[in-house]
Amino acid sequence: MNNIQNLYRQVIMDHYKNPRNKGLKGYPHVHLKNPSCGDDITIEANVVDGVIKEIRHNGSGCSICCSSASVLTEVLQGKTVEEAKEIIEKYFSLMKGEKITDEDVLEEALVYEGVSQFPARIKCATISWKALEKLLNGEQDEQ
């Protein structure tokens, strides 16, 4: 598979065109923007007793940015905050092209492995994950 095919996997384009868990419900949220390219993502999460019950996303941007928000919701919903933080760390390592142990915990997010070959696109693939990381670390934007 060439690099480009490896970047734009079918799964990614599917999440782009048919995003899951899209639309906000009013849970605590973090909004992140990349003004230079227009990626604009809000992630909200409903955390109950240390467990992420639900994650929602909204925003606009390129396929890598929007799809990764959708994939994130599916991978991390139902995880404890601690588990989620570990998975987020692993995802960031994946972006850097680092070797990671038990990559299986990344589940569907593994399809973003190809991004490490495109340094200019790492920002797109991580913006929603950074928003969730901030949220889990207790930061949150005003309602």
């Binding site: 048919n18 390219c37 227009g38 941007g61």
Partner: protein, 408 residues
Amino acid sequence: MFDVLKLRKMFPIYENHPDLVYLDTGATSLKPQCVLDKMNEYYQEYGVNIHRGVYHLSYLATNAYDEARQKCADFLNASFEEIVFKRNVSEALNFIALTYGEEYLQEGDVVITSELEHHSSILPWMKLCERKKASLRYVKLDSEGRITIDNFKKALDSKVKIVALTYVSNVLGYITPIKEIINLSHKIGAKVIVDAAQAVAHFKVDVKDLDADFLAFSSHKMMGPTGIGVLYGKKEILKKIQPLEYGGDMNDEVCLDSVTIKEIPYCFETGTPAIAEAIGLGRAIDLINELGYDNIKSHCESLKKYALEKLKDIEGITLYNPHCDLPILAFNINNVHPHDAATIFDEANVCLRAGHHCAQLITKWLKVLGTLRATFYIYNDYHDVDRFVESVKECVAFFKQFEGDNYE
């Protein structure tokens, strides 16, 4: 047409990247060896400060710096004292808003600008209007996105004190009928500030002929180094404005509680300037003169025609400015975000820009999230256009595979 293969030998970046298709001159041009050499010569042979030392080397440096200013003056058909060195267009336009604008704009006055502008030609005026309780008025663009005389007339009334417009749009490549706009503005006593960032690399800009009040350009978009740009201001107007910054070099006599300042343009330049960069800019101006605007124009025109012809036959793209005046093409691959498309071009070593190009208002006017932009210059040839067109086709085909019954 230039003999591009020969001409490219002047641009060392091609030696390091023989396969490069550089279509982002709109953001910044490539730099020729002669400009780099001229800057190196300063650093290696007489790299000392100007206007300060009374020793021989300082004399040489001061001379070279003054000579560069004179070259800029000749370049614009202005005089030596009308050329103020700034870092770039953005700094120059902010400078005008913070000096002339602060002093002369009053509550209730109007500043005319357009949605075609680069942010640097709008935001300084937007913020000034906020401070002054003045208002910003946008010339209505025609259906293609151009600034026309008719629409300009409709925006012009006696409240207008300042007109800040771009000479050439950095997204749509249109040339503004700026000479007539200046003429109309002067009739009601408004001053005109021209953003010539995209103009100077392509055609002669003559401030006398235009009768412009202020005009700015950046060296880096016309084969000169980064870090230096020119603000032109009419002598009579420059003499009326106060310096924005005080410090070394700009003063005349300093007393315990007062200072007298130098004459123009020195009173607007404090501190050690970008000496090497000014000298490099001077060399870039020489190069443009050596190449000749007529030749530059016909070369770029040929590339533009060829590219437009090729793009016409491609299905699945939208070109926003099929009647552009300069080879600045704004387009999108249908249903593909410009940043997704840009990665395909990048893989093919085709450098172009994707996004809003620091001109969000025209992007919004076009009702898109962003565009792809390819700009062509003297070091590009038909082969570059072919490679570009191939990538466009590849891009269309690539993203087609994801369209299907499964998808919306």
